[in-house]
């Protein structure tokens, strides 16, 4: 079971940050070649990121590289980065399913046979991308998730980006639903005020409640609050525990139906309880009695 609660962006042209990115507990580190790097520094950053992937120990974190978009420097990025064996590649400005297929096709050509298959994480950050989000979500089996790009999206829609995020409510819901329908992960937009921890936690809790499986982070200080918010809470664990207990009890009694707190436990609820317990186990949040 791979846990991907937090995905930390790190500028690909900053040696110090590339070196320390694995220290903060992020589940995914995203070494960024796109927005963080000026066009005249792309080549140097590419080389730096390629070497970082090969030489720096990122510990438990999965290694991701944010490429430049297909219509800019993506080809050059791929030639340099694919041999360095990242776990994931993040493609920005995904507008249609064919974008993912195009990238996947290039990966088919560039990956060595012995190499672990690289997965794709798509950023949906345009009205068109969102309009076609379900097609994108099920476009290719390399695609493991979608990330909401709220800054570009709101600029293109013409809405005002706010901390409350009312302007992206529909976009978030569409993206989460498309990802869930396609059976892939969904990552919420970054929270840009790095000094507002309370706001970050609120925003992360909203994302979790909407169904997002993780969230982007633009500063290492955001990783811990994001991880802790996505961790199953003691209440969630307790509820899941009661559901599973009721199911076992029902099974023992030969009854097909279990209920908790007067509510019937149906299959999706049971599945969710199993997921919560698995995640809690993976994160070592369970006591001995659950093992």
């Amino acid at each position: 079971m791979i846990v991907r609660r937090s995905a930390l962006f790190v500028p690909g042209n900053n040696p110090g940050m590339l070196q320390t990115a694995g220290l903060f507990g992020a589940d995914v580190v995203i070494l960024d070649l796109e927005d963080a790097v000026a066009p005249n520094e792309k080549d140097a950053a590419r080389e730096l990121v390629a070497r970082a992937l090969l030489n720096i120990d990122y510990g438990q974190a999965q290694k991701c590289v944010r490429l430049n978009s297909l219509d800019t420097f993506c080809d050059d990025d791929l030639k340099e980065i694919v041999p360095s064996q990242p776990d994931l590649l993040m493609l920005p400005k995904v507008h249609r399913a064919s974008d993912i297929k195009e990238l996947a096709g290039q990966l088919d050509k560039l990956e060595r046979p012995s190499q672990k298959r690289i997965e794709i994480l798509a950023i949906i950050e345009s009205p068109q991308g969102l309009a076609e989000v379900y097609d994108i979500a099920r476009s290719h089996d390399r695609l493991m998730g979608l990330l909401m790009g709220a800054e570009d999206y709101t600029a293109m829609v013409g809405s005002l980006r706010t901390k409350g995020g009312e302007e992206i409510a529909v976009a978030r819901a569409l993206l989460v639903n498309a990802a869930a329908a396609a059976g892939i992960e969904s990552f919420d937009a970054v929270f840009t005020d790095v000094n507002d921890e309370e706001g970050l936690i609120k925003d992360t809790l909203l994302a979790k409640n909407l169904g997002f499986t993780g969230k982007g982070a633009i500063n290492p200080r955001q990783v811990k609050p994001i991880n802790e918010t996505f961790n199953p809470s003691p209440l969630e664990i307790d509820y899941a525990r009661r559901i599973l207990k009721a199911l076992r009890q029902a099974e023992k009694e030969g009854s097909g139906v279990a209920s908790v707190g007067g509510k019937m436990v149906d299959a999706p609820v049971a599945k969710r309880a199993v997921n919560v317990m698995n995640l809690a186990r993976k994160l070592r949040l369970l006591g001995q009695e659950d093992e």
Partner: protein
């Protein structure tokens, strides 16, 4: 001769004399009696007040060959040292020994007074800025003596350092010689480093830019110890004296180290009611204090005292009731200056009470935990805080060796690499704090425990902390940054590192500049 940490030290150093061998942190014992200054008298009706330094020099017959002392409470805002040396230079004096508790960039004019033969000897806890570079180049005819904050009052008490004239910058004074640092345009809070000078100098001179009506109450140093008062226009630049509010670092790596350091303290078992603590004013040290404060709050722990250089952050912890007292030898920011003036639980303490190893009991001996920095630390846990990796003077020993020796647990916090330089090394260039007094090293890549403290190591492992061998940390640094080329230091001796007990723990040789 090879001393107890394996350093090869000459038995005699030109311009200094015979060298006392460092025998280990606790192995040299005091001998003899305390030094005493002359018995003094102030006649009825006799004025102590002067209106210029030049008048004072003439009246006291201050002459060549004397020793002047100064405190560093005005830090980088200090102008008194420069004004006194200017006056001495104008009067044609030569061959002066300066004892300045720490030297800052503002003291760069001393370079000229060294060149013209006025200043020929310097004792200090550390040097920053242009003067540091000049001293590293060897402009002083004798090696600079680098002492700790506790070592200095020890040397005054023993008479190894005899001060002819103590020039005490006094942010406020009355004409009888009662002085304080908590009010006035040059307010600096505690005057802790000046207390021993007032006890042992032949002439105790308070220099102020804020003369207040008699009696100044409460006084830090009283009229019974101050022989003369000089009123001048300005002691210095208030901007350089105290900083604004000291903020906790936002650097994620610094915060990560601080978080680990706080967990180390929790796992040590020392964090309980009565907990006593010292930390520096650096971003990561302060952040560690922040996390320790959070733990104390969560676990309802009431600390005993916090010690050392005090910041507004520690004032907040005092006012919240997380600590019972602050013992303030130096106030770092405006908040701590205000607090020491108003809060009876925020106490001004002398450097002697703070850290002198040879008195009847100093405060560092009752520290549970101290968090300290390092410019380098070696695999034997010896720490350098005085020279950079190029051997140039760049920092101060301060209370580092004193608190490390006194505290039940000494935690060094540093990044494993600074730019691309490994900070964990085989052998520090200059040893200021011996490894036997250092217990834990915390870096962003994990922590290492002094093998002598297996008890702590066991606790940290049990708590799930990322415990590594210090060699492992060094190798990791080498893997990332490469193995640095060894620099040979075979130039003349430009500095002597005096351990707090008066022995010489190391020498500083001129780097190849």
């Amino acid at each position: 001769m090879i001393n107890a940490i394996g350093r090869d030290i000459p038995e005699f150093v030109e311009g200094f004399g015979p060298v006392k061998k460092y025998l280990g942190a606790f192995n040299s014992l005091p001998e003899g009696n305390c030094y005493g200054p002359p018995i003094k008298r102030a006649a009825v009706g006799q004025s102590k007040l002067y209106h210029s330094l030049e008048d004072l020099f003439k009246s006291l017959k201050i002459e060549s060959g004397m020793t002047f002392s100064f405190h560093h409470h005005l830090r980088n805002g200090d102008e008194l040292v420069n004004q006194v040396l200017y006056t001495a230079s104008r009067l044609g004096l030569k061959n002066i020994t300066v004892s300045l508790t720490a030297a800052f960039a503002t003291h760069a004019p001393m370079i000229e007074y060294i060149k013209n033969g006025l200043v020929t000897s310097l004792r200090t806890s550390g040097v920053y800025g242009g003067l540091a570079l000049a001293l590293s180049r060897g402009i002083l005819p004798t090696p600079v003596l680098l002492h700790s904050h506790g070592g200095r009052p020890r040397s005054l008490r023993s008479g190894e350092l005899k001060v002819d004239v103590a020039f005490i910058a006094a942010p406020s004074a009355d004409d009888r010689g009662n002085i304080t640092g908590v009010i006035g345009k040059s307010a600096c809070g505690s005057l802790g480093y000046a207390f021993p000078d007032a006890d042992y100098a032949t002439h105790v001179v308070a220099v102020t830019d804020n003369l207040v009506p008699y009696p100044l109450i409460p006084a830090s140093i009283g009229q019974n110890k101050v022989d003369h008062v000089v009123l001048i226009d300005s002691l210095g630049d208030p901007q350089g004296i105290v900083s604004g509010t000291t903020r906790i670092t936002k650097d994620p790596v610094g915060l990560h180290i601080a978080d680990t350091a706080a967990k180390v303290i929790e796992a040590s078992g020392l964090l309980k009611n009565g907990f006593s603590f010292q930390t520096g004013a650096g971003g990561a040290s302060l952040a560690a204090a922040h996390f320790v404060g959070q733990m104390m709050r969560a676990q309802n722990i009431k600390g005993g005292f916090a010690l050392g250089g005090i910041t507004g952050y520690m004032v907040d912890l005092l006012e919240e009731g997380l600590f019972g007292n602050l013992f303030d030898v130096q106030s770092f920011d405006l908040e701590s200056v205000k607090s020491i003036a108003r809060n009876p639980n925020h106490l001004e303490v002398s450097s002697d009470l703070y850290a002198n190893p040879f008195n009847s009991g100093c405060l560092v001996n009752d520290l549970d935990v101290v968090i300290l920095g390092a410019t380098e630390i070696d695999v034997d846990f010896n720490v350098n805080v005085i020279t950079g990796s190029d051997g140039v003077l760049m920092g101060a020993a301060g209370g580092h060796p004193d608190t490390a020796a006194g505290a039940k647990m000494t935690v060094i916090v540093t990044t494993l690499l600074r730019s691309r330089l490994p900070i964990v090394v085989d052998k520090v260039i200059t040893a200021t704090t011996p490894g036997e007094t250092v217990d834990v090293l915390v870096t962003e890549y994990g922590l290492a425990v002094n093998p002598a403290r297996a008890d702590l190591r066991d606790r940290f492992v049990a708590a799930g902390l990322p415990v590594k061998d210090i060699q492992e940390l060094k190798n990791l640094a080498h893997k990332m940054a490469g193995v640095p080329q060894t620099i040979a230091f075979d130039g003349p001796i430009i500095g002597l590192v005096e351990y707090r007990d008066g022995t010489i723990i190391d020498v500083v040789r001129a780097p190849n500049l």
